[in-house]
């Protein structure tokens, strides 16, 4: 059974559909990347899966159970965490408070979870008393991912985690994502840095105008000449 399946999704923001039958599936222990041109509906797909916009047709299954148009709160309870592309930290809260908010729905002691996040992002431990809004773009991205990891998710959804980062930080971020996968967490992400993302991805989808164009393992997609010419800039 797949961890997550979103099959034949149609939907948009009230007007015309942006998604026209897009399909994405994620297994445990794998990194799945959605790439494609601007306006293809990549971020929209993430939002549809997470219940942030209305799915008009199609179904979302989590461990085989239907969760189509579920509330974000319900997704979090199921163990799905989502990191939006921008404005993804609480700027006036400290790093530590941001992490605590991630675990808002968790009953009981959250200190072990915090420790686990600090192990993945040691820098956050140093900076835990600092206001998140005052940090650099790369650090904020760590806070955002750390916040998402606080629920001990089985599926982590990342919307362009490397947007606006320097090349060095991009490499670092991808390394961390691999580490997260190795903890046994499924990762579904949208990426603009398509080549690098596919290089670390177990599988990838190429989305265009709201539907799937290609779907294959990361390396195969990278090697696919049509994909390279049309979507990866030659």
């Amino acid at each position: 059974m797949k961890l997550l399946e979103a099959n034949g999704i149609y939907g948009g923001y009230g007007g015309a559909d942006i998604l026209k039958g897009a399909t994405v599936q994620v297994d445990q222990d794998e990194i799945v990347v959605i790439v494609g041109p601007n306006g293809a509906g990549k971020s929209t797909m993430m939002k549809a899966v997470f219940g942030l916009l209305h799915v008009r047709q199609g179904e979302v299954l989590y461990k085989g159970k239907p969760i189509t148009n579920g509330k974000p709160e319900q997704m979090v309870r199921l163990g799905v965490a989502y990191v939006p592309q921008e404005k993804n930290v609480f700027p006036s809260l400290t790093v530590e408070e941001n992490l605590e908010m991630g675990a808002f729905l968790i009953r009981g002691d959250i200190r072990p979870r915090k420790e686990k996040v600090y192990e993945v992002f040691p820098k956050l431990r140093e900076r835990r008393k600092q206001q998140a809004g005052l940090m650099s773009g790369g650090e904020r991205q760590m806070v955002a991912m750390g916040r998402a990891l606080m629920i001990d998710p089985q599926l982590l959804m990342l919307d362009e985690p490397t947007a606006g980062l320097s090349p060095r930080l991009i490499d670092e971020t991808f390394e961390r994502i691999i580490r997260i996968r190795d903890l046994g967490i499924g990762v579904l992400m949208v990426e603009q840095n398509a080549k690098q993302a596919l290089a670390i991805a177990d599988r990838g989808y190429v989305l265009a105008t709201g539907t799937n164009r290609y779907e294959d393992t990361g390396p195969n997609l990278l090697a696919n000449r049509e994909v390279a010419e049309m979507f990866l800039g030659g």
Partner: protein
């Protein structure tokens, strides 16, 4: 020399008034931060708190300061009921509809006060206040108590916002509502608690104002404009700024009586507010919930 003494004397009154304004403005700011609308019924929540507190000590014969917790409880519940009965149903539309609704709610609450407690002026049994003379400045004991009560309430609020899970969630929602939803923070619950706290703070302001002067059904409405001025001066949506805003407005209002009719005090607050809006629409003091 006389002018200096007048100035200091008025500054004392200004800090007292500023305390009241600050408590009101924090609530306005918090509600704005989370629900994104200016709550026009806030002054009338103050009135409700003042009257509930008065009734409580009259009925139970309790000492006067018991009016504070009783009034706070009363107004907190009123705010919650108003939210659940009315605001909740229009929250999904534009915030401006909430603003209209709250304007109407101000009149509804005031009519209820008039029906329950009557239109006449009432007062807290503060007894005869013998001022302490410091140099040539008269300091009335209740003024000290009002300032102390404000410090206690604000400190409690600060601890709540920085130490408790739900308080932090309120700050998070005020920061970024969309992210709060994605994070799984239960918005409805946080909104309800915001109303409870906003109502309680309003009542704190109302009771203290009632102790300082007298109770009338329009007491809260009459002070709403200075409260808004304080919230805007502090940068609306930022409760800590609202404290500073309250003090500045309170001082300005009292000191203005040196050269203006006292009845123009609210206009002084208004003029400062307009000046702030022109110069810095985002408010003067930095900081966030």
């Amino acid at each position: 020399m006389d002018l200096l003494i007048d100035l200091i004397q008025l500054s004392v009154y200004g800090v007292v008034l500023g305390s009241v304004l600050a408590l009101g403005a924090i609530g306005v700011s918090m509600i704005f931060g989370i629900l994104r609308f200016a709550h026009f019924a806030h002054g009338d929540l103050m009135t409700i708190g003042a009257y509930v507190g008065l009734s409580f000590i009259m009925i139970t014969d309790a000492p006067i300061w018991w009016a504070l917790p009783a009034g706070m409880l009363g107004a907190a519940l009123t705010a919650l009921v108003v939210d659940q009965a009315v605001y909740k149903h229009i929250r999904r539309t534009q915030p401006v509809i909430l603003l209209i609704s709250s304007f109407g709610m101000a009149l509804v609450l005031r009519s209820i006060v008039q029906i329950v407690w009557g239109p006449s002026v009432q007062s807290y049994p503060t007894g005869i206040q013998r001022p302490w003379w410091v140099w040539e400045i008269a300091i009335v004991p209740t003024h000290i108590w009002i300032i102390l009560a404000t410090i206690v309430i604000v400190t409690a609020l600060h601890l709540f916002l920085t130490r408790t899970r739900i308080g932090k969630a309120m700050r998070a929602m005020s920061d970024n509502m969309d992210l709060a939803l994605v994070t799984g923070i239960p918005a409805e619950r946080v909104v309800m608690i915001t109303w409870l706290i906003g109502g309680a703070l309003a009542a704190g302001a109302g009771v203290l104002l009632g102790i300082d002067s007298r109770l009338t059904p329009t007491m809260g409405w009459n002070i709403l404009l200075p409260v808004f001025a304080a919230a805007i001066l502090g940068g609306i949506g930022r409760p800590y700024g609202a404290i500073a805003g309250g003090l500045v407005i309170g001082l300005a209002m009292e000191i203005s009586t040196l050269f203006l009719e006292p009845s123009y005090k609210p206009a002084v607050a208004f003029v400062i507010m307009v000046a702030v809006l022109i110069v810095r629409p985002q408010g003067i003091f930095k900081g966030a919930l």
